[in-house]
Amino acid sequence: MWSDLFVLPFLTGLCLALVLPVLGCFLRLRDEWLAALAYAHVAAAGALLALIGGAMPALGGMAAAALAGGGKRLFAGRLAGGAAFALLLLGGWAVAVLLAANQPLAEQLGHSLFDGQLYFSGVAQLALVAPWSLFAAVALVFLSRHLLLARVYPDYFAARHLRAWPVVLGFDLVAALTLALATMTMGVMGGFALVFVPAWIAFRRARSWRNGLLLAAVIGIAGYGAAFLLALGLDQPFGPVLALLLIAVGLIIA
């Protein structure tokens, strides 16, 4: 267990297990939990496109997710009520499946992205995920008050002439890039499980916002650690084990 072969993937996933549940709380606050699946699929499509184009898949995935996160504002008028995320999800999935169906290389990577490939994470992946997770956590703390204020008192926010768009754009970019990294590290559903389930439990059980963020992070880290060991011990893929474990925890304590 304590060889580089397992420590590097474990640490890479641990960083995400800390930040994804916190991000999930903010997505849930904004009724945007579908964003987790949308950005994950767009990132997968971007990674496959980059692979076919001869570029680094990780960069392609992050660029596509960032473009989707920043660009959806341009169509905000037509894409209210979560339609943006539903369309991004469908578009990302369609592009990814078509690429995988027509390019053998893309098919292989496509399977990895959708099934998860945490155990193949190495130094390069950790070097990308660790600093970004730290940055994302700091950014969420920085944006927290304005995100809450914009949600609870949108009129007050406007009356104080506080500009909402830098906050929303900043959050969208942090969410898109974090979810792109999560997809390329632990797969679409592994990342989604860590975004959705701990935040869902926290929203039901926490006494306060601060307590909720802490609870979500603790559930994420504990669930991740247990799933990592369980999947390794049973020689099973990580993503499904994590999802089933978190579902069980959620049904018991939520």
Partner: protein
């Protein structure tokens, strides 16, 4: 008048089209202006125009430069299912716990969605009232409040005005408006200043 925060002359406000009769008024520091009248005469629209949300179709609406506004609307803050405590809500707007009625102070650390409708309304109102502001705009603040809540609100508003804050208050509760406001405008056709 050096302490005029807002000056309206023949102000006609609306959303898609003009919705109010022309109005003249001045909002001054330390005073409470009440807007009342029948349903549909545009009380909320005038308040929204002061907050910069509704359009000014004609007339003049001048606001002091750098004016800090706090706005309470009739919309219920969407806090259902969100683990946000009362103390955290107040911290969001920079409001203080000091002065809260005893029936609410004891529940300040509870989640907002576990308070009664009246308690939640008063706390969300308090978060706006106590926010650092030069002018507080209130739309039907007595809705959902029982008599104890209305009494506490009345004294809180007078105390706030006494500290130099200006307030504009829209309400269908004529008795409440007459009791706490320094000036009352009854909206209608034509506008009458009482």
């Amino acid at each position: 008048m050096s302490d005029a925060l807002i000056r309206a002359r023949a102000l006609v406000a609306g959303w898609e089209s003009p919705a109010t009769a022309p109005l003249d008024f001045v909002v001054e520091s330390g005073r409470i202006l009440g807007l009342t009248g029948a349903n549909g005469v545009g009380k909320t629209t005038v308040l929204s125009a002061l907050a910069g949300r509704a359009r000014v179709f004609s007339g003049v609406l001048e606001a002091r430069l750098g004016l800090r506004l706090a706005l309470q609307t009739q919309d219920v803050p969407p806090v259902g299912g969100v683990p946000l405590s009362g103390r955290e809500l107040l911290a969001l707007t920079g409001a203080t716990v000091d002065g809260l009625p005893p029936w609410l102070a004891g529940r300040i650390d509870d989640r907002l969605d576990r308070l009664s409708g009246g308690q939640r309304h008063y706390l969300t109102l308090w978060a706006v009232l106590q926010a650092p502001a030069d002018l507080v705009l209130l739309d039907e603040p007595t809705n959902n409040l029982d008599s104890a809540g209305v009494a506490h609100l009345a004294s809180a508003l007078r105390r706030l005005a006494g500290s130099g804050t200006a307030l504009v208050l829209v309400s269908h509760d004529h008795e409440f408006v007459e009791r706490i406001c320094d000036q009352v405008i009854v909206l209608g056709e034509p506008a009458n200043v009482v």
